[in-house]
Symmetry: C2
Subunit: 416 residues, 2 copies
Amino acid sequence: MNSAIIAVGTELLFGQTVNTNASYLSMKLNQMGFNVMYHYVVGDNPDRLRDTLERAFALCELVILTGGLGPTQDDLTKELVSEYMGAELEIDERVMAELREFFDARGRVMTENNIKQAYLPKGCIPLYNRTGTAPGFVLTRDGKTAICFPGPPHEMKWLFENGARQYLESLSSKSMYYKVVRTIGIGESDLETALLPLIDEQTDPTIATYAKEGECTLRVASQRDTPEEAKEAVEEMLSKIDEIVGRYIYSYDDEELNEVVVKLLADKGLKVASCESATAGMFSSYLADVPGASSVLGGSLVTYSDESKTALAGVDKSVIEDKGVVSPEVALQMAEGARRVCESDIGISVTAYAGPDIPEGYAPGEGYVGYSYGEISGTIHLRGMRNDRFRNRNFYKMTMLRIVYELASKGEVTFR
Amino acid sequence: MNSAIIAVGTELLFGQTVNTNASYLSMKLNQMGFNVMYHYVVGDNPDRLRDTLERAFALCELVILTGGLGPTQDDLTKELVSEYMGAELEIDERVMAELREFFDARGRVMTENNIKQAYLPKGCIPLYNRTGTAPGFVLTRDGKTAICFPGPPHEMKWLFENGARQYLESLSSKSMYYKVVRTIGIGESDLETALLPLIDEQTDPTIATYAKEGECTLRVASQRDTPEEAKEAVEEMLSKIDEIVGRYIYSYDDEELNEVVVKLLADKGLKVASCESATAGMFSSYLADVPGASSVLGGSLVTYSDESKTALAGVDKSVIEDKGVVSPEVALQMAEGARRVCESDIGISVTAYAGPDIPEGYAPGEGYVGYSYGEISGTIHLRGMRNDRFRNRNFYKMTMLRIVYELASKGEVTFR
């Protein structure tokens, strides 16, 4: 079944709010086997919302709307959807009672405009809201279904899980199953080229590649008559993909590299410490994005200047002078220093010229990652992404994570 | 002028990627005086993209597209926009040369599909991409303008700032002049309330407030017959604003707080060092986003664990035991430790419970920032944003920057 998502709210068109509702709902709808054909964002404007509703229903049987259900004058979604579907609004006594209770409990007077929220279209399935004051609803007519949610993401999610999901499951005819695989160390076009025979010969499962910052993801999806068939088709395809590009895959479940690394280190009981020059803490703060990273992050030394490399990580001043601060020798001493000073199992470092100013004799973005773990130590020569500071630093960070991932999972670094 | 934004990419309809490009562009377009009427998201599907293009241009003279410019088969935006505008595609020699250079520099073979990126519509204004391989472009016909950007947000932003912005500024018939003022330490509704007399009495310049993560921005815009008149009107308004909320303003030129702080420290010849627990390097890496930060960043100690606070920053073990690791005493010793160990003028620290797990006796997100500069030292008690790890850590980082900004600019911390 084809579906569209309409987000209503001028704040989205001003760029003040990011439309995370659309991505949440898209993921859920896809997982349930609905095709999401379009996202629309419109302001709090009756003509444009009316127009968008007509447009969406011309193409899709299911239209999901978020926002515009609140008590203020510019909240118009319920009124316009009801009008479009030919349903009158009437007071819902349960919502009315809950509203009174809500305001009583807070000792606040319920202003007149709040009563607006107690009206629902006749014949709808109400989605009673335990997380806010505005209810959502499902309204069906002539094979068209509209589902309206309030705009605040946590209210929308709660009503999706507690009401809308059950309704949607009853609508779906086919079963969709998909997996998102994450790779690192291979570019999007190389990945596509490597998988072209698989991509070309298949209509289901479908394979799609997506470039993300510093890595590539791969989505394998199947729509079949039963969930089991869809799952089997995806798994069969995954094993073919694994044979071709398995060495670049770090997650078969759409996990971020930092989550994978934190979990891996925690499982093995290992601590990592970093000594960061160009990334200046990006590696350690990225690891700490994951709750529970404290058990695996031994510490980090941000040594942006030459002096701090010596003072904090114990890098020989003479080595910096002889070999240059961006050299394999310095990278290695930084990794060893971090490991020693932070009393950790793995030391990882980076020293590089991220740009925009690159000293003579170095390529833009050139640098070294150093690593030290047990008896293993070494350096990786980095060749940056042009003279783009942002991308270079992100690339260094991802390379550091990739090395830690390899050291912890395989006990060696397999790439050069 | 009315505008619409079309994001192209099946990954958006699958919910794998959030459409942050639309909010970024919306904010910029609004700041420049364009009305953003619609956002659309369509998949990598020629018919639907064609249809959406027609739809958008029926309502708007300016349509901005993001995504679908890459090397793979499903990248269709350039082809369809050119077809719609009646322009042929031809090889752009500069892009071709840059592509070859890009692959040569990495010692990689350029696969055939990459050549696709060197084609641009005849008669377009190319937006040469220094941050990736796919160029963008501006294409105009019969009073309609399409601007195409690659999908990766940092590439889109770079091309917006380095090419598209100048073009858009030239589109406006009246002379628009605007300034974006950045504030920190005041909420959006307080800011609006403070400026209400100015907002109410004015039709031009217009004043608009926008809430961002951890700060608020203010746009003051005027449209007059000449650039001089517009500029004068904006500057007059800015001086009135300055009288009311000047103490919260850190930039009159839409600069990021990290840029402002790096510039300020460099001007004063000061070095800052951080000791970071909950932020784990976010402060130092955010400073190092700014080229030239090496001269002002003395170093940083990431001390996520109790032991590392003692080992790296010399925090008394007994103080951690007596007062708790999240305490003003520990925050202060961390700041002093960072300043001492990294031989810097200013020491700044954070120790906090970012969530999701908060020990009993602490509020979600509760913590302390410590600072030390010359004879001045102290702590700020942090009260977090609910139990939201992401927002809390960002709030800590911004608070640290705000304190460094005040110390370096005023020699004191004026807020509590």
